[in-house]
Symmetry: C2
Subunit: 108 residues, 2 copies
């Protein structure tokens, strides 16, 4: 059994320019270490996965459904399956930890 | 619908001295912001939840099943349901993000 994953075990994905994701899957959850460069974007999209994220550094100017919020370190957002969401960064590099359940097939 | 949770929305739990957890639940996942003071401990235990964590700051000297590892920032550990695990910090304050699926009833 292999319980620990070092940096090198992650798969790195770049869903959009300046937006990189290191993803690792368990059985029902996928944990992602997400970094967005200043002035980059996670374009509006939806997916069939539940998503929760905690902002670690920077700011994320986010839309979820018809709500808009500027998220800061310590804030958490929750996106139920099927809800349209996306966001942009401004001046700061932004780091967050995101979790998807079940694991996203497009990040595996 | 309420998608965003500020600092104040978290429930804070102290499972052991010097070990604090801010927990927030979705439907199938619970996201936790975990801080351990230097020389503190998450005593060996098991639970029926899948657990994955990403180390953000510090170090976590961990046992999972019969494996021991010193985890550093960027490392991830995975604990399947029912597997005994726990860990200690040494000189440094340690921060990690942990996710449980399904949400832990004892943290709700």
């Amino acid at each position: 059994m292999f319980y620990r994953f070092g940096h090198q075990s992650f798969k790195t994905i770049e869903p959009a320019p300046g937006f990189s994701v290191r993803a690792i899957s368990g059985k029902n959850v996928m944990l992602c270490d997400v970094a967005l460069q200043p002035h980059s974007e996670s374009p509006l999209h939806s997916h069939p996965y539940e998503e929760m994220s905690l902002i670690i550094e920077g700011e994320f100017d986010m839309k979820i459904g018809d709500e808009g919020q500027l998220l800061k370190p310590g804030d958490v957002y929750h996106v139920p399956p099927g809800v349209i969401h996306g966001g942009v960064t401004h001046e700061q590099r932004t780091v967050m930890v995101s979790v998807f359940s079940p694991p996203r097939k497009d990040y595996e």
